[in-house]
């Protein structure tokens, strides 16, 4: 398989153009596989939805960032779910969601434990779905321990995408992340455990690539543990043919009850995360739009409509999947037409953006600017500031606009007062947006406007309903023309979250 992402010069590598262009160098067959996959394609995540079903509770290893008490309804960390489903219930739920949310193209099994530590439950769900809903893409996430033994089963069920969480390739680093694994009917601890896990992960990766399955590698960035090491991980998995590397920030709060949370291990700052993602980027696609979903999330990335599809609700739904499939095909065709139109439009913008260099010919480089965008989907600026649960952060420069990542407002917890921190929501948002100089939204209230400005973040509601990258480019151009790029950003924006 030619899964290796070639290094490319010119337009695609500098990201001049919409994010879809970044996939344009891939072989057609692979592009077709990721084109409507919200987790594998950054552009697709504006348009398509995914769902996870929680059928796999057990796990065969322990990660220090995981608390296996998974039924907390206040949180939306990976691994947290509110109801565990049997394979039959899961299939019913998937069909109900597919019929009601036709943009849902991808079904993933990601826990709450390790899907491959529960092979019967996981594979039975896939088996039924590949039969009943052939228009849904199936994918699975795993810690990799049981992967080599199950690769052939996975391929049998038409699974096109596998995500392996690989936090290290060095057992000494691994010993600080994984205290033990369950291996061949025994518990193995310490460095030896990490050694076995790493070997299994790498072997599983190689086997999947050999069989033409797209592999995404997730890594959790843990400051002081694997931060320096992740570049090596990126290099190794890339060489073995992983398609995408997704570096995610560690989430560790005391109230989550994880080992790291209780021990006071900190997560990375937005800046640390971005620096590392840039360092790993090289010539392999880096994923920056991951939202670290719950293991039972439903809907667009960043939203969760799981409450519309609880067990008691799906019990009463009658689904005619043949009819649903026809409607789904129609909706997908509309989305594709819309995307094609957006691509042509933004192409024009970038031509004029490049010509920006003319008014300031002496400066070869103007400084880049981070901007936050409130969007409810479809790739346009269309959300009220006060409704945004997360902001997409883009970096604009004289040559391109690139997506940096999503920042959640209410970091993983909606526990409100119970979280014991007196900061107002607005102050939290301002802290979340540190480093950004502009926030684009459809509308914004008077009070937040003032406070944002005071914090050095300029609210902008003038580009409502415009495609995001186009709007960001336009604001950058305005900043350039008004001379705002001649000086460095205000100092308070330098602080990190």
């Amino acid at each position: 398989m030619e899964l290796k992402v070639k290094s490319q010069g010119g337009c695609a590598s500098s990201g001049c153009g919409s994010s879809a262009d970044r996939l344009s160098h891939l072989p057609e067959a692979i592009r077709a596989k990721v084109n409507n996959h919200p987790c594998f394609s950054e552009d697709a995540h504006h348009h398509y939805a995914r769902m996870h079903v929680a059928v796999a509770p057990a796990c065969n290893i322990q990660c220090h960032y995981c608390n296996r008490k998974y039924d907390c309804s206040n949180e939306s960390r990976p691994g947290v779910v509110s109801e565990l489903l049997t394979p039959d219930q899961a299939v019913k739920k998937v069909l109900a969601v597919a019929a009601n949310i036709p943009q849902m193209t991808v079904l993933g099994i990601a826990g709450p434990g390790d899907p491959l530590a529960n092979p019967e439950r996981t594979l039975e769900t896939f088996r039924q779905l590949s039969e009943k809903a052939p228009d849904i893409r199936l994918c699975v996430s795993t810690n990799g321990l049981a992967l080599p033994e199950l690769v052939d089963e996975i391929c049998k069920h038409n699974i096109e995408h596998v995500t392996i969480t690989i936090n290290c390739v060095d057992p000494d680093v691994g010993a600080k992340i994984y205290p033990w694994i369950f291996w061949k009917n025994r518990r193995v601890k310490g460095r030896k455990a990490a050694e076995i896990l790493i070997a299994q992960q790498q072997k599983g990766l190689e086997m999947l690539v050999e069989r033409g399955v797209l592999v995404k590698v997730n890594s959790v960035l843990i400051p002081g543990v694997n931060d320096a090491h992740l570049k090596e991980v990126s290099r190794v998995v890339k060489a073995k043919g992983a398609f995408l590397h997704n570096v995610m920030p560690l989430i560790a709060e005391e109230e989550h009850g994880t080992f790291y949370g209780l021990m006071g291990q900190r997560g990375p700052t937005n800046e640390e995360l971005q620096t590392l993602q840039d360092a790993c980027a090289g010539d392999m696609a880096m994923m920056r739009h991951c939202r670290q979903c719950r293991a039972d999330a439903v809907g667009m990335l960043g939203e969760d409509r799981g409450h519309e599809f609880t067990l008691d609700k799906i019990e009463t739904m009658e689904i005619d999947y043949t009819a649903a499939m026809a409607r789904r095909a129609q909706v997908h065709a509309e989305i594709e037409a819309n995307r094609a139109a957006q691509r042509t439009q933004s192409g024009e913008v970038f031509v004029s953006l490049a010509s920006l260099k003319r008014p300031a010919p002496k400066k070869t480089e103007t400084r880049p600017v981070l901007m936050a965008v409130a969007t409810a989907g479809s790739g346009v600026v269309n959300q009220h500031f006060g409704h945004a649960r997360e902001f997409l952060v883009y970096e604009a420069s004289a040559t391109d606009v690139r997506f940096i990542g999503a920042r959640k407002v209410d970091l993983y917890c909606s526990g409100g007062d119970t979280c014991g921190d007196a900061e107002t929501t607005l102050q939290k948002i301002i802290r979340t947006l540190s480093g950004c100089e502009v926030v684009l939204c459809s509308k914004i209230g008077y009070e937040p406007w003032g406070q944002l400005e005071a914090a050095g973040i300029v609210p902008n509601g003038e580009h409502a309903m415009e495609p995001i990258e186009e709007a960001v480019a336009a604001v950058y151009r305005e900043m350039l023309e008004s001379g705002r790029l001649d000086h460095a950003p205000a100092p308070e924006q330098r602080m990190s979250a």
Partner: protein, 92 residues
């Protein structure tokens, strides 16, 4: 001769499919071991399977009522080193 699951169990399901004697019962508020069925894995495995995969220190007791996985045995940090380890981790 039987092991016991106590209330610190988090209902993670890891032990249930492994039991060679089908002695583990999904129950509320937490999983249970049927003492009549539990063989302590004797004859099937060298070590009791439930206690070898359980992620919670102290959740499973042996026949004498002692934790099969005592404090520190799963995190790898014995209680007396906890404060030092915490300081080390906080400095990262």
């Amino acid at each position: 001769m039987a092991l016991t699951i106590i209330e610190s169990c988090v209902n993670c399901w890891a032990c249930e499919p492994l039991c060679p004697s089908k002695a583990i019962i999904e129950a509320k508020p937490h999983f249970l071991i049927d003492a009549k069925k539990c063989s302590e894995c004797d004859g099937d495995f060298a070590e009791p399977q439930c206690a070898s995969i359980c992620p919670i220190e102290g959740a499973i007791l042996d026949a004498a009522g002692l934790a099969v996985n005592p404090p520190g045995s799963l995190t790898g940090i014995p209680p007396e080193r906890l404060a030092a380890a915490q300081a080390e981790i906080r400095a990262r």
